[in-house]
Amino acid sequence: MMSTIVKANMAGTVWKIVVSEGEQVEAGQDVVILESMKMEIPIVAETSGTVKKIFVQEGDFINLDDDIIEIE
């Protein structure tokens, strides 16, 4: 199985995690909502698959290119 890591496209705080481990996701679906500069930034899955691991928790501060979730 190929696995891909969804990374942060900008620095911010994890506001909401909308998927859970083991969940099936579609490409283009929101997986995490980041809050940056008073705005909600949806982070989308680039590929379809199963959420294998979530590396962040709500409230975490993350930097650009940090790993967010792994999709298999």
């Binding site: 620095a11 940056s36 500069m37 705005m39």
Partner: protein, 452 residues
């Protein structure tokens, strides 16, 4: 005059307040978060104290820490700027209790106007026109649907404590309302700690026009004309100007009168703004009141020659206004463009390091800017990094100066909305003054999305 003022804010507005204080020989105290330690406003203040970690809840919203700092520094007054604690009645009250002057209105007035629902009721009592809608809290989807039958679609679903467009949505039919209600209520609850919702009729193609007033503690209220703020993206203002090119003198007079009446009715003191929606027949309706200095205050300063921060300080000290309404005249035309660190097409923020910054200069050009070359734009705060203000004898001259200044405005290293501002300022509809709140959707986005 006060000898020392603490500024409970950051960025360009902190610098703006420091500038007036310097002119008035008032000492300034800055408070700042870890993330802002290298900022211009920290260096420009006479004293500066670090008050906490970057997230606002741990620094700029930490009331205890700010009060403690004001006492330690012997500041007699606190200027809250805009945003952050500026419209927090608990903060204003706490200042009062601690014997520190809060530069703004009384806590109960802030609280009353902070609830959009309560503000609607108060304005109705004062005889100010409000948008048709309900003046009671809507608790459930069922109630919302029932009330919506009375008002008719399209309508606006709004959060009573909302701001910045959060919790607010345009609704076209029953299905949409049923779908949107709970989500918006939840968002309002999580953002503002208050999930109180209400609904209003939707005004088609409105202009956003607001009236600036000054009110002293002696019952004098003077209106400083209006500002047109219809150019918005994500329900937030991008370009503002004064006077409004879209209303007649007769309408202006009626709006100023309504604002004065409203301010007197609620016992308002200090600088405040009444926001109105104006429809295509120049009917105007109260939208909300901002009980603080506004981001776009410079356009009013440019056309009146009045320093609003100085007036705020004078009023807070109990001095009577020395401005007579009859003596006020609109001098030329002023436009402000907000410079945001964001993608000009998606409007997503763009934090990062500004490699080099070059501000435009020229006749009638004013820069209220937060940053400098080498500055870091962090992800913790609002993406506005500065404001460009231009003044001209006529609107035509002001628009020309705006376009020229935007072309000279250079920010490297991060994305900014300058390309968007340039496109709007050069657009024939903008030049004609044909501006409504849907301008960006209607004239700007189609252009950039096609050429992308």
């Amino acid at each position: 005059m006060f000898k020392k003022i603490l500024i409970a804010n950051r960025g360009e507005i902190a610098r703006r307040i420091i500038r007036t204080c310097k002119r008035l020989n008032i000492q300034t105290v800055a408070v700042y978060s870890e993330a802002d330690k290298d900022s211009l406003f920290v260096r420009e203040a006479d004293e500066a104290y670090e008050i906490g970690k970057p997230p606002v809840a741990l620094s700029y919203l930490n009331i205890d820490k700010i009060i403690e700092t004001a006492k330690k520094a012997n500041a007699e007054a606190i200027h809250p700027g805009y945003g952050l604690l500026s419209e927090n009645p608990n903060f204003a009250k706490r200042c009062e209790e601690e014997g520190i002057v809060f530069i703004g209105p009384k806590p109960d007035v802030i609280a009353a106007m902070g609830s959009k629902l309560e503000a609607r009721i108060k304005m109705k009592e004062a005889g100010v026109p409000i948008i048709e809608g309900v003046n009671v809290v809507i608790e459930s989807v069922e109630e919302a649907l029932k009330e919506a039958e009375q008002i008719g679609y399209p309508l606006m679903l709004k959060a009573s404590s909302g701001g910045g467009g959060i919790g607010m949505q345009r609704i076209h039919n029953q299905e949409e309302l049923a779908k949107a209600f709970e989500g918006n209520k939840k968002r309002a609850q999580s953002y503002f700690g208050d999930g109180t919702m209400y609904i209003e009729k939707y005004i088609e193609n409105p202009h956003h026009v607001e009236v600036q007033i000054l009110a002293d503690a002696h019952g004098n209220v003077v209106p400083l004309f209006e500002r047109e703020c219809s150019i918005q993206r994500r329900n937030q203002k991008v370009i503002e100007e004064a006077p409004s090119p879209t209303i007649s003198d007769a309408t202006r007079e009626k709006m100023l009168e309504a604002a004065v009446r409203a301010a007197k009715y609620i016992g308002y003191t200090n600088a405040g703004t009444f926001e109105f929606l104006v429809d295509d027949k120049e009917n105007f309706y109260f939208l909300e009141m901002n009980t603080r200095l506004q981001v776009e205050h410079p356009v009013t300063e440019e056309i009146t020659g009045i320093d609003l921060v100085e007036q705020q300080i004078r009023i807070a000290q109990g001095l009577p206004l020395e401005i007579a309404r009859e003596s006020l005249k609109i001098n030329g035309h002023a436009i402000e463009a907000r410079i945001y660190a964001e993608d000009p097409v998606t409007f997503y923020p763009s934090p990062g390091v500004i490699g080099s910054l070059q501000l435009p200069e020229g006749e009638g050009v004013r820069n209220d800017c937060a940053v400098e070359s080498g500055a870091q734009v962090t992800p913790f705060y609002d993406p506005m990094i500065g404001k460009l203000i231009v003044h001209g004898k006529t609107r035509e001259e002001a628009v020309k100066r705006l376009v020229e200044a935007l072309k000279l405005y250079k920010v490297e290293g991060i994305k900014t909305n300058i390309p968007m501002l340039l496109k709007i300022a050069s657009h024939e509809q903008f030049i004609k003054g044909n501006i409504t709140t849907s301008f960006v959707e209607r004239y700007y986005l189609p252009e950039v999305q096609v050429t992308k």
